[in-house]
Symmetry: C4
Subunit: 230 residues, 4 copies
């Protein structure tokens, strides 16, 4: 069973490269094993070209290494806090993808400027507050998770499956590693479109009724996009 999630996390990491979301080894995907609840994550600082499925590290929710010989990503404590807080999510992606990172560096929420955005994100994509000096100096990676949780406190994480960490870059998530990658790809494209839209002079979001329509059409109870799941 762990073989399946290990393979799935491994492939999801390679998909970041395929979709142009990572330079060097900047990025990582993790996934939660539905049976054991263990988390599988990419090892730290290994180039994507050398990465093999066997290099994935298995940890429990407290961060104890269960399987694997390499150090897990330095961002592991951030991932674990999100998994502990949000039982509904099964995959997390962190990248420094170009446009989403530019918004994070600018410290701006990405307004919902169109239906491409609304199809996945139910409102503006939030940017966290700045971490304080003390939060950076100790337990930095845990505190990164904390400002994410704090910023998303009133939201359903599956209705807002991405966040921008101030001055840093994006995290995305979903019910599986594959869906987390899907959302990370969408985020980058939405961030690029929003940058261009702002250069064309518009930063006001679309009407609430259009946002509702598009998000519900894909994710609501009466969703009618795609094929029947039966």
């Amino acid at each position: 069973m762990l073989d399946e999630i290990r393979e799935s996390v491994f492939r999801a990491n390679l998909d970041l490269v395929k979709h142009g979301l990572v330079v060097h080894s900047w990025g990582n995907v993790s996934g939660r094993d539905p049976e054991t609840g263990y988390i599988v994550i990419k090892p730290s600082g290994i180039s994507y070209e050398k990465l093999r499925a066997d290099d994935m590290v298995v940890v429990d929710l407290s961060g104890k290494i269960i399987e694997g010989k390499l150090n897990p990503s330095t961002d592991t404590p951030t991932h674990l806090l999100l998994y502990r807080t949000w039982p509904g999510i099964g995959g997390i992606v962190h990248t420094h993808s170009t446009c989403a990172t530019a918004w994070a560096q600018a410290g701006r929420n990405i307004p919902a400027l169109g239906t491409t955005h609304a199809d996945t994100f139910y409102g503006e994509i939030p940017c966290t507050r700045k971490l304080k000096a003390a939060e950076v100096k100790s337990d930095y990676e845990v505190n990164t998770g904390r400002v994410i949780i704090e910023r998303l406190s009133n939201m359903d994480p599956l209705h807002m499956p991405s966040v921008l960490v101030y001055g840093h870059g994006p995290f995305s998530w979903g019910t599986t590693p594959e869906q987390a990658v899907y959302n990370a790809v969408t985020l980058e494209e939405v961030a690029r479109m929003a940058l261009y839209t702002i250069l064309l002079g518009k930063d006001k979001p679309v009407e609430k009724y259009l946002l509702d329509k598009h998000f519900q059409r894909k994710h609501g109870k009466k969703a009618y996009y795609g094929q029947s799941k039966n």
Copy 2:
């Protein structure tokens, strides 16, 4: 005969990927069978990697499924209204291509800033009005078609083979699915050039006589571009 249009629509859908116009499954191409008048369209929410020619859905102009086991694209009612209104068109493309979508999100018509534009679009590329709440809440996809028709009301759709739907993205069309894809590719490139031109400080269109010359050189009665069609 339907085999031919089905294959043609299938290949046109894959061409959207090849030309970099789509992310995920965001985009669809349909085509009209010249014999039966039926419409062939991409199924909803199927990834391009898994798409096969047999997955294409055949519907009549009222939307009744004639052949195919999958749900047609959720945008089918928009396509059908355009086919019913404009008997001269034989293919329609909808994408969320980056730059055209940015213009749609900005709610701006794309001015005819040069001859690349004028070779295909006879004037500024129109952006529709905003849909009203009631138009979004019910019959949304049909109403999307209606604002397109309304916006193009004084134009020959083959002289203005694209539109931007406000806050959403572009639709393009042509006499065949291939030509609709050609126009969608052109639109994205023209939208990108226009964005850059505006960043360089110009948003005034070219002179009417230059627009006329280029459009007529390719599409007028005395067209002399390309090879003789005999």
Copy 3:
């Protein structure tokens, strides 16, 4: 002997695609045969995917077809005027490459903002004046050549191997078709850098002594860049 130039022009046309300078069939390369003085040029409106070396059209300097079954590019009269005026050039490229076209649409000369520019272009890259209505209505392609010649009147075309035609796009040239393509690729990159530089707040050219140094280092009598030509 014509086989050699035909092959060379054919390959140069494909290189436009390889370097990302063309969309669809928008672009053409021609070359002058050093023996006969004939011009070999791409046929009009043939897609690059279907293009074969045998499709190249051979014309004399007056435009009379010497060899070839297809219509030559509609831009042939522009090419011919440049060849007649400038005996030193042996290849011409016309594209609608994205950034160079944006500058042409903006009607702006590209200032010499750095050494990348100065290595190939000895001063700002000129944009022609607007063509008048009468110049567009008849003999349009010849008149396009005329405004290019007019704009370059005080310059050595091998010291300024590109021009922007107002509202249209770039033409580049060189001693051979290969060199013309080299210059077209350089122009697009220089145009992109200049756009970004302007977005960063600078539009003043570099000092004349730096421009001189870089251009002379590669092209002057005391050039010391590259390998000895002996």
Copy 4:
């Protein structure tokens, strides 16, 4: 032993192409042989497609050719001055990569706008002063090295492994040719993100404590990123 560094420099030069940092032959990598102290560098003006490992030129620190039949890069005097001044560096890269060059053309330092920057560059990436006329007219390449050294005078070159030469473009370095290429790739991505961030309205650097944290996490004595080096 020289075979190893020659191969390493050769491959590093090809990696510039792979990472999209060079157009034509604009760029070069050199490396220092740890045993002999000789410098291996790319020959001048040879296209990357034709480049072979045997073409690399070996020079001593004074510039005397030790091995190789071709002229070394015209930028060799710049490389040599950096190697003589900074004994800790073992590889240097010069490119005209698009965004880094745009910043150099704008004459602006790149502010440390986020953690992607801070992971590699310990503070803003400096732009040199303008060279004076006399500095350009004679010993230009040596003087380019001099303004780099002058600009970095108070810095550890391994804490600030890139510089922008005013009106020209970037140089990057590292302990090996591979690491120099790594830093050149990072610089280009950081320059692109910084351009976009500025277009989104922010040009103030991140807090010093965040800069410290990220740089130290990867490069300080207590670094904990990546795998143990034992």
